[in-house]
């Protein structure tokens, strides 16, 4: 029974995918959307069932479905593991997934390929569930690559625009760089422990005795995989470009779920990372730097979705910071709250874009507060949450990260704090530019301003509520999440007793957030500043606006050399190699030409050659005869 339910949980979105692929075109758009949504809701409900069951007996549920790949030292089966971590992820993946599916029914209604959209979305949920529920690394890898594929398909959903396709391709390829790291990490682990199964690995690693260098290598490689999927330095540049996809996609894949896969994986393998402090340090530094750099880029972006994208990168950086300190539960906490408010923000921005018929540039927005009150209020709540204002969800989770940072490393703490001040600033900049003062768009657009339909606003409201109360799952003191995750995490983490120390840190964080907000307020409300047109941006601002020219740098350092090499190979080396082969033939030809000259038809010459040859042969025979 449980097996069947687990299979249903896994396969339900896949059924939705199949339906939409084969019949989606025949049924009406609403039906295809409804079925797509329903299948995800089924998974969500089942996740709740399993969750309730786990809460009761605390026993993880693990089954092996069939043998998959076998190599000489171990067999890999295709198995499902439903434990605390995977169920937690399942809950918010399918939960937020259902909301976003619901939202998409309305959002994508005018698109002729809506059934495809839902097919891909369902496929994504399926792969995401696979990623989460797999009982070994390789099954996770299926999901890992699968969500990458869906991300590719959905970023390039409007495939007629080659820029979007480029963005999709970029996302896929950068992810694949990480995937190679993941693969290598798996190879190292498999070579060391002859298994990829989590439970077996945990015991095996627990026994110790493994080569520390190899363990470090494995951890590093896995982390490289995580940087690809979770958009960390140096592989983060694909995520802002990924905003080319439809907004629900950005909300679901590039904010709430897929990009957290890296955190999931690191948390999953926490017993490995705990043994490799050097790698943990690297993770922490990478996370902090990512948070800072992405936040600073976000300061000056004018595309509403780009701002959110950099915000996502920055928040992911904070989560990795926590992971680097071994505070897995804190990272998971932030993942969950972040999923709530970031999804809400993206959906809200989608609602705005929907209302403005595709306009994404904040310079052409403004004053939408009155026209779109629900969107405004839900987004406002989420913005407060992400800025870390008490008592919204983001406050609690972010505060914990900062506290952990403070404990371990003061420098990283400062960096993270600066990043969160920046976050507060750019988020409120976004809000002010979008919703306050007068509308700056065309008359035509102004005329059509309207609040979005209820299918769009309901998910917004739900998510906004969650953004308010989400912090409750791990309030200091009660710390339900910490307890819940205890069986998963190898190392025990001490509770933060709420002393003065902690209150002071909370106060500092809150003050920082308020400083950021006031700064934004002064600049965009009081002064009424509107960002300049692209051409007028100068100086350091220009560097930031152009994302520190990192894309250009990558193009210059990696893409161009490879393309140059490809051109060199194609135009120079290939023909040269071909010529080498041909030269054998040419040599034979030359020999023949020379040989032909001997055959000149001169009988006298032939006779000479003949006689001399006879003499030579006779002499040879004679000499060998004598020698005997």
């Amino acid at each position: 029974m449980e097996t069947n339910l687990a299979l249903l949980l896994l396969l339900s979105p896949f059924v939705g995918f199949l339906f939409n692929v084969f019949f989606g075109k025949k049924v009406s758009r609403t039906v295809s959307g409804a079925i797509g949504t329903l299948t995800v809701i089924v998974s969500f409900l089942l996740s709740i069932c399993f969750f309730a069951q786990l809460n009761q007996n605390g026993k993880p549920f693990e089954i092996s479905l069939f043998d998959w790949i076998s190599v000489h030292n171990f067999k890999l089966d295709f198995g499902i593991l439903l434990d605390q971590l995977s169920l937690l992820w399942l809950l918010f993946v399918t939960g937020i997934g259902s909301l976003i599916h619901l939202y998409s029914i309305s959002y994508m209604h005018d698109d002729e390929n809506m059934h495809k959209f839902f097919a891909y979305l369902n496929l994504f949920v399926f792969f995401m569930i696979t990623l989460v529920v797999g009982n070994n690394l390789l099954v996770m890898f299926i999901g890992w690559e699968g969500v990458g594929l869906c991300s590719y398909l959905l970023i390039g959903f409007w495939y007629k625009n080659q820029d979007y396709n480029d963005a999709a391709k970029k996302a896929f390829i950068m992810n694949r760089v990480g995937d190679l790291g993941f693969l290598i990490g798996m190879f190292v682990i498999a070579a060391l422990f002859s298994t990829l199964n989590y439970t077996e690995l945990k015991t095996a690693i627990g026994h110790g005795g493994a080569n520390a260098v190899m363990l470090g290598l494995a951890a590093l490689c896995l982390f490289i995989g995580a940087t690809g999927k979770s958009a960390q330095l140096p592989l983060y540049t694909w995520l802002p470009d990924a905003m080319a996809g439809p907004t629900p996609v950005s909300a679901l894949i590039h904010a709430a779920t897929m990009v957290t896969a890296g955190i999931f994986m690191v948390t999953r393998m926490n017993f490995l990372f705990d043994l490799t402090p050097e790698i943990q340090n690297i993770i922490a530094v990478v996370g902090a730097l990512t948070a800072l750099i992405a936040a600073s880029i976000g300061l000056l972006q004018n595309d509403i979705k780009k701002v959110l994208a950099y915000s996502t990168v920055s928040q992911l950086g904070l989560m990795f910071l926590a992971l680097g300190f071994g505070a897995y539960n804190v990272a998971v906490f932030h993942v969950i709250t972040h999923a709530f408010f970031k999804a809400c923000l993206f959906l809200g921005s989608g609602s705005v874009i929907h209302g403005l018929h595709g306009e994404q540039d904040m310079r052409n927005m403004g004053g939408l507060r009155k026209a779109m009150p629900i969107t405004f209020w839900t987004m406002m709540i989420s913005t407060l949450a992400i800025a870390g204002i008490f008592p919204f969800a983001g406050f609690w989770s972010k505060d914990e990260i900062l506290m952990v940072a403070f404990e371990h490393n003061k420098v990283l703490y400062v960096i993270a704090s600066i990043a969160s001040i920046m976050t507060a600033f750019y988020m409120f900049r976004l809000m002010y530019l979008t919703f306050f003062r007068e509308f700056r768009g065309t008359e035509e657009q102004k005329h059509h301003l309207h609040e979005s339909p209820s299918l769009i606003t309901i998910p917004l409201i739900v998510l906004a509520i969650l953004a308010v109360i989400g912090g409750a799952i791990n309030l200091p003191g009660s710390a339900w999440l910490n307890h819940f995750l205890e069986p998963i995490l190898a190392a025990k983490h001490e509770e933060h007793a709420l002393g003065t120390h902690e209150f002071m840190l909370m106060g500092i964080a809150l003050a920082g957030a308020i400083v950021g907000i006031l700064w934004a307020n002064a600049k965009y409300i009081k002064q009424g500043f509107v960002p300049k047109a692209d051409a007028e941006i100068t100086g350091f601002n220009k560097t930031i606006y152009n994302k520190y020219y990192v894309d250009e740098l990558y193009t210059f350092l990696i893409v161009n050399p490879i393309n140059g090499l490809a051109n060199f190979f194609r135009t120079t080396l290939e023909p040269a190699l071909g010529k080498v082969v041909y030269s054998l033939g040419t040599a034979a030809n030359g020999l023949a030409t020379q040989g032909k000259k001997l055959q000149n038809g001169n009988i006298g010459l032939y006779l000479f050659a003949f006689v001399i040859g006879v003499c030579a042969i006779i002499t040879y025979l004679f000499i060998t005869h004598i020698a005997q």
Binding site: G604, F608, V611, I612, C615, I618, T619, F622, I626
Partner: protein, 171 residues
């Protein structure tokens, strides 16, 4: 020196001299005549061996038939003039060098190989009379003998065909 040895040297000298002159004369007719002399001297050698049958056949076939053919051909081609251009000097030099080389090689080989000295067997049997040869030819070598006749026949037909005027090709 026995008379026989003197005869041998005499004949050998004639053979070599005429053979050389055959090649050396500029006029083909002269060459042919020297060649006839050469053949006759070789027939003399055969007689020295007491091979009468061969000597006769040799004179008939070579001096009679083959040389007549040569002479006829020379006359047919009207080659009795001394109009032949000699080969380039280098070729002639080369020919001489090769001649010497070949001679040296062959002579050295025969010198170096086991020379047979002293008494030679004399079985006393008759082995080269016409009667004996006829027996051998028509018993043991009957088939090759018949083939030789076929060869000559074919050669004859071939010659006729070859020397026929090729009317069809000219058209």
């Amino acid at each position: 020196m026995s008379p026989i040895l003197i005869t041998f040297y005499f004949l050998a000298a004639i053979t070599l001299a005429t053979a050389f002159l055959t090649i050396y004369s500029k006029n083909p007719i002269h060459s042919a005549i020297y060649l006839v002399l050469c053949f006759f001297s070789i027939a003399g050698h055969y007689l020295l061996f007491n091979a009468q049958f061969l000597a006769i056949v040799h004179i008939i076939v070579y001096s009679g038939a083959i040389m007549v053919l040569f002479l006829f051909t020379i006359m047919l081609m009207n080659l009795n003039k001394e109009d032949e251009v000699h080969k380039p000097r280098i070729t002639r030099l080369g020919a001489i060098v090769v001649f010497i080389l070949t001679s040296i090689v062959l002579v050295t080989i025969f010198i170096n190989s086991k020379t047979i000295m002293g008494d030679y067997d004399t079985s006393g049997e008759d082995f080269q009379s016409i009667k004996k040869l006829g027996n051998v030819l028509l018993n043991e070598y009957m088939v090759p003998f018949e083939f030789a006749s076929i060869l000559l026949l074919v050669a004859m037909i071939g010659v006729v065909l070859l020397s026929k005027k090729e009317k069809t090709e000219k058209k």
